[in-house]
Symmetry: C2
Amino acid sequence: MDKSPDTLIKNGIVVTVNRNFEIIENGEVAVKDGIIVHAGSAGSINEEAAGRIIDAEGGIVMPGLVNTHTHLPMSLFRGLADDLPLEQWLTQHIFPAESAHINPGTVRAGTLLSCAEMLLSGTTTCCDGYFFENAVAEAVEEAGIRAVLGQGVADFPTPDSPDPARSLDAAMEFVNGWKNRNGRIRPSIFCHSPYTCSAGTLRRAKKAASEAGVLFQIHAAETESEAELSGLDKDASVIKYLADLGVLDENTLAAHCIWINAVDIATLHDLRVGVSHNPESNMKLASGIAPVPALISAGVTVGLGTDGCASNNNLDIFEAMDFTAKLHKASTEDPTVMDAETVVRMATIDGARILGLDRLAGSLEAGKAADIIIINTRGPHLNPMYHPESHLVYSVQGADVSHVMVGGELLVSEGRLVNMDPQAIMSEASEIGKEIMRTD
Amino acid sequence: MDKSPDTLIKNGIVVTVNRNFEIIENGEVAVKDGIIVHAGSAGSINEEAAGRIIDAEGGIVMPGLVNTHTHLPMSLFRGLADDLPLEQWLTQHIFPAESAHINPGTVRAGTLLSCAEMLLSGTTTCCDGYFFENAVAEAVEEAGIRAVLGQGVADFPTPDSPDPARSLDAAMEFVNGWKNRNGRIRPSIFCHSPYTCSAGTLRRAKKAASEAGVLFQIHAAETESEAELSGLDKDASVIKYLADLGVLDENTLAAHCIWINAVDIATLHDLRVGVSHNPESNMKLASGIAPVPALISAGVTVGLGTDGCASNNNLDIFEAMDFTAKLHKASTEDPTVMDAETVVRMATIDGARILGLDRLAGSLEAGKAADIIIINTRGPHLNPMYHPESHLVYSVQGADVSHVMVGGELLVSEGRLVNMDPQAIMSEASEIGKEIMRTD
């Protein structure tokens, strides 16, 4: 092993999230050229040789969190309207606000705001789909977060694609513009849903995504009325419809998957579709409860997402973990489902897997990118500590994250953003918010 | 109005939680001799005359949160065992740990740890029931939190009452020892449950509580098997049983109330029983989902609680608010239930009401005790802000609390405890935790 790492993180409880979920009580992680060269017991690395030492001060060192479903610019609509029937919320608040206020400038501002929030709460990778995704990508790249980003495709006029016939071409231009850059951004195609994209659009979009070798994202089986809205029989299976269209495979991420049956679960497993579970958004919108324990039992890989800020209302994956663990215990009336280890895996390696990034991220193992976070465990709410994974799910809050590194680059240090100016970002978001409020 | 307050909190968004839920955008709160003398628009108070000025810097100023159901010393068992069947969790982990490790010294240590956590996350009033409650009371008094505290009563040997026949006498000694002090502590009787207290014990304890004029607390209808465990028919109503025994009235707090029917809801309303809702504990233990929207519709007053740290695993009422708002939307499939204003009321004035403290606390109104918290809203996760009550429920985390005052005494300033030594408290809790882990 190379004994001269750029960075040595020492004095931590290292939650590796490797195959055996090894936790090293007195552990350290060494990084060289953006890659983890050692994640294990203390004493393997000569401290003198390390370029930079970060003292975890007894805190938890773990892989950065993976948020598998976001609409980043929607942080601008955080709390604009809540507690309303879905239709009223969308048609009277969200759609008008998007129509009036979403443009490349506001998309950039909202994305920077979201990146600041994600980094400060320990998220190092996200998967997004929205309008003007090129502006999203530029802002995410500037923030330094690893991301899979999809330009939205729908068969209706959108703020960035007034002519729906151009929607897929625009999405492919985005893909082609980003696919050969060697940074942290991977482009994707985001077909909004089976009820906003025709069968033909879905087939063409999936074919284009496959040819480009990129992830195909879609909202699927989110609401009870989705089959009917998609032109199917009321009781038809949306998953079967999508499978029959040929859009479901190991390079498809299906968000939500709430209204699914046992056959659908088998289909998702057989076709190796990745599922993004968004408990807080699903609960807040009363969309239903996804059968996550059954999906996991069947061998489907399920990652966690926050969904957009307008239906959550934050981007905190620690909170999503807590909701995930508790929601399914309540819904199945079984306190043993969704144990802490399972949930930590969902928020890290399983999320990376459904984004096609598991060889690169999602665990602390030599050879992987140095996407690492440190949790300050010196608060009363994190003491005593018997089992670190329990605290990660049930007790840690986003604000406990002290350090965040992506690809070896330190982006949060001592709880503060290193490269971003949060005051300027919040100030711009607040000004846009005043305009949005004026027209709400 | 007296123009020379001890303290003026200025430059805040004042969420009064008064009858009309008034929110004052550019507001201030003035305090004199521990009492609120003004909560309203800026400019009413001469700054020069104020003894101390606290600049809320545009943050939210609101009544301190009320946690209506805790077992404070159980913070020592935070994360000791999770994700287990209830019986196994209790009999193999919690009961043995209590039996081996709970004594006045550990109770004091665990209570101080819990008080530190509660204060740092904005809780100014709690309602507790446990063993060695005198040690709880001394620690709570030292921390400065307002509290209703009940010595546990049960018909089985407990760590502090090996002879169950002495249990009620010991509880009354606690009540008598604390009832005439004029501090922030009010004693109470805490009968553990209908399945651990006989009908005779429940009747005698309620009579004693009534004669002493103190709150009677009881766990009620928490699990599906409770009726049977209480010696009733499997399908009998625990609420009817308790009502028939005469233990339910406006000075009774019933924690949980999950397994209740429409008749029970009417009974709770007619008898003016206060209900403590503990969504996170109920979800984590898979106890069931309390019909809170139906209780509130029927006119029952429902406060929020965390329950003990072993089944949550924290004491953060902001998190409890978020869970409350979302859980019932999911369970009723109605996104309009449990709107943000309702949930903020539950966490403040409604909680104070069921503890019998609503004339003293729970809202920012002239004449009430100065139990006030300030939320720092300068984080990316709290921007933009359209509706403060939405942020309080869906976006704020405990760590956003910057200042906490109880009865005019500043206990948290700039996010730090003023009178407590968290390092010493955590260090002692950690040592006790090592002993607990050794025998688990």
